[in-house]
């Protein structure tokens, strides 16, 4: 039996190695996407079985007999011992946002190879390790949050900076995801109608759940889903109506203003009315579409039209400027390493785990699944003709304002595309144009629609394209609602120190004022992105990537401190290696974004070129924000290094701040 197992694992390792070799050495020929799937799945299985189990058994010594916070502090609300697969589903639904879908689509400008290798290696050695160690640390500390652990393990400064960084990242995150939606809906009556219709649908669901059928969330979500699908069909009818189409054909600026107003209202309205029902619906749609995409890729296994490497590895890419190193590694954050995951791993999840060993599938396993989602997004975008991909993702300010100018520029890069081809494609998906629809969402929707529709064209392709746009916009808007609200709470907590009424979440003037401040902050960056002649994504996505990876650096500093206190220097390489890599990548990227002499990369060079006016001011503001991120994380790193040297020399207290051991009383049938 043991021999069979060993042969099985060896065969899997060989298959994984062969698949990786196939995608790594193929040049000048199109490969089947199934090789990416095989390379990823084999690597994940081996990493989970060997590296994950090594971390669980040797490094963390997860103890089956130790009572978890869910058991010790059970209160029926937050702390509830739960079946591991349910916690897995819960945790995965919480970490899967738009990041793993949009990042790989943008990074596909380098070709499929760099992004794919980073997604696989980054997740196995960095992202999953971070999520797992932070989950374990929180599990042993009564479910404490990342901020609390940073304060306890590194010092007061670390805790404060972690909180401040989260607030700043959220502002940039909300702006950039809102920009993705704006770029997907601008000039699209079909898309705009569909998304606008989801708002009354959510309010209907809110009233249904609150007053008509309380507690029937699954039933209500099924009705909501049917209504949203009806809205996708209705959008096609609206786009074909001479009376209604102009009403829903809106400019990018109009949509941006509408989203800002929406964000403000959603933050101030009762949560049961709009946010919660939309959240239920978007969670189910998100998980369903991810499963559908996986099934579609396995059934169709499309050929990758994008080459392994494109000419844009030299940094001259039209989607965003900058070389593979460091920009590929900050563009793909959530599919490989995401600091935000540390907030989830130290949030609800540790309060639900019934047994310590469940942290392995939930912490390490969920991140591998998220990484697989990123691989699927990479496949969907690379299955498009490269000329089409660049026509959709290149800003008009770079390739030209007319179709003829754009196709001439893109074909000149060696990626042939014609105006007729783009026109036919736009007509097929029910859009006026697909040129310069930057942000990643339209090209991802196009790739997904091609997979879902397979050989179907016309109406089928149009339905699936808008279904994919609806799916992306639905959960991005949920992030905007919820993020604005969380930002408002954080601000109210902060202001409550100085003025008691402002800290009260029930005092309406305080709610309105703080909501307005948070919305104004991300709204400013959103408007800046809309006005940017280079499409906004070129500036905002790297800023978001840098911020997210810097939060990961803080999480990995906490994780390293925990391992150092537990084992001395023996195992710190596990978190130190990804930490060193992330610090190198993010500081290089941040430095280039501020100081590069090339205006498409460096914010200050861009400001110098523009000299005066709002665009020059915005470039300088972006440089300041980037600099603030660097300084904040440098302080945490300096504090951590000081502590680590103290621990190694024996001058600092190395006692582990774990909750004391209590034997579990839970019988296995209870979980």
């Amino acid at each position: 039996m043991l021999l069979f197992k060993r042969v099985g694992w060896l065969a899997l390792a060989c298959l994984g190695a062969f698949s990786l070799a196939t995608i790594a050495i193929s040049r000048g020929e199109h490969i089947d996407s199934i090789w990416l799937v095989l390379a990823a799945v084999c690597t994940y299985l081996i990493a989970y079985r060997f590296y994950g189990k090594f971390l669980a058994a040797r490094v963390m010594a997860l103890d089956e007999n130790r009572a978890t916070p869910a058991e010790r502090l059970e209160n029926g609300h937050d702390f509830v011992p739960t079946n591991k697969w349910i916690v897995f589903g819960h945790h995965f639904a919480a970490i899967a946002g738009p990041g793993p879908l949009v990042g790989p689509v943008l990074a596909a400008q380098f070709g499929y190879l760099p992004g794919t290798l980073w997604i696989i290696a980054g997740a196995v050695l960095g992202g999953a390790v971070q999520d797992f160690v932070i989950l374990f640390a929180s599990l042993r500390r009564d479910g404490k949050s990342l901020g609390q652990m940073a304060r306890d393990e590194i010092g007061k400064t670390g805790g404060l900076i972690a909180l401040l960084t989260v607030l700043l990242i959220m502002i940039v995150l909300l702006a950039v995801v809102a920009l993705v939606v704006v770029n997907a809906l601008a000039g699209s009556p079909w898309g705009t109608f569909t998304i606008a219709a989801t708002m009354p649908v959510a309010v209907f669901m809110g009233l249904y759940l609150r007053f008509w059928r309380p507690g029937k969330v699954l039933e209500c979500s099924a009705i909501g889903f049917a209504l949203v699908i009806a809205a996708v069909f209705g959008g096609q009818w609206v786009a074909g109506s001479t009376a209604l189409a102009p009403v829903f054909t809106l400019s990018a600026m109009t949509i941006a203003v509408a989203i800002i107003i929406y964000g403000f209202l959603a933050s101030a309205l009762p949560v049961w009315l709009l946010l919660a029902p939309r959240d239920y619906l978007s969670t189910f749609v998100k998980l369903g579409v991810i499963a559908m995409l996986a099934a579609g890729i396995l059934a169709v296994h499309p050929r990758l039209e994008m080459p392994a490497l494109t000419r844009f590895i030299d940094g001259s890419g039209p989607v965003f400027a900058g070389k593979i190193f460091p920009f590929c590694f900050i563009t793909i954050a959530c599919g490989a390493v995401s600091g935000f995951h540390a907030l989830i791993s130290s949030g609800t999840t540790p309060k639900m785990l019934a047994r310590e060993p469940h942290a392995l599938p939930v912490g390490y396993g969920s991140m591998l699944l998220e990484s697989m989602v990123a691989i699927m997004a990479m496949i969907a975008s690379c299955a498009l003709q490269p000329g089409v991909y660049f026509a959709v993702n290149s800003p008009a300010g770079l390739v030209g304002q007319t179709a003829q100018a754009a196709v001439a520029t893109i074909s000149g890069w060696g990626f042939p595309v014609t105006a007729d081809q783009m026109q036919e494609l736009a007509k097929g998906v029910g859009e006026i144009t697909l040129f310069s629809r930057t942000g990643g969402a339209p090209s991802l929707a196009l790739g997904m629609a091609k997979i879902f529709a397979r050989n179907g064209g016309g109406a089928i392709l149009g339905f699936w394209y808008h279904f994919a746009i609806m799916f992306e916009a639905l959960f991005i808007l949920t992030i905007i609602d919820a993020g604005t609200r969380v930002g408002r709470f954080m601000l109210q907590d902060l202001l409550g120190q100085f003025s008691k009424p402002l800290g009260r979440t029930s005092w309406m003037p305080g709610v309105i004022a703080t909501s307005a401040v948070v919305v104004a902050a991300w709204g400013y960056f959103l408007i800046e992105g809309v006005r940017d002649p280079l499409g906004g994504i070129n500036s905002l996505w790297p800023l978001f990537g840098i911020a997210n990876q810097l939060l990961a650096a803080i999480a990995l500093s906490v994780a390293t401190t925990v391992l150092l206190k537990m084992h001395g220097p023996k195992y710190i390489w596990i978190t130190c290696l990804p930490l060193v890599w992330l610090v190198t990548v993010t500081f290089s990227a941040a430095w280039q974004k501020i100081f590069s002499p090339l205006p498409r990369i460096g914010f200050l060079a861009q400001a110098d070129q523009l000299k005066t006016g709002p665009l020059a001011f915005n470039a300088r503001l972006d440089a300041v924000v980037c600099g603030v991120f660097m300084v904040l994380v440098a302080i945490v790193l300096a504090e951590s290094l000081k502590l680590w040297f103290g621990l190694l020399r024996g001058t600092r207290d190395a006692s582990v701040a774990e909750a004391p051991f209590v034997p579990t009383q839970l019988a296995s049938e209870e979980i």
Binding site: N75, G76, H77, D78, V80, T82, N83, W85, I86, G89, H90, A93, A94, I95, A96, G97, P98, G99, V166, M170, L173, V177, L209, R210, F211, P214, G215, V217, L218, S221, V271, W272, L275, A276, Y280, T283, F284, L287, A333, C334, S338, F340, H341, L343, I344, G347, T348, T478, I479, A482, G483, R485, V486, F489, F544, N548
Partner: protein
């Protein structure tokens, strides 16, 4: 069959229906519109204080 049961339980968990059942049992009460609203108010207050992932 077991897989389907787990799948259904995950859906019920994501829909907060399991949490509601636990709430009813913890408070020794039965389902009513008012109880559901009380449960939602508590649950949403806690949930929407946490940052959402990107």
């Amino acid at each position: 069959m077991k897989l389907f049961r787990i799948f259904l339980t995950i859906l019920r968990e994501l829909a907060d229906q399991n949490a509601y059942a636990r709430h009813l049992s913890a408070h020794g009460t039965t389902h009513s519109g008012a109880e559901w609203r009380r449960f939602c108010d508590e649950r949403f207050r806690a949930r929407y204080r946490n940052a959402r992932c990107c």
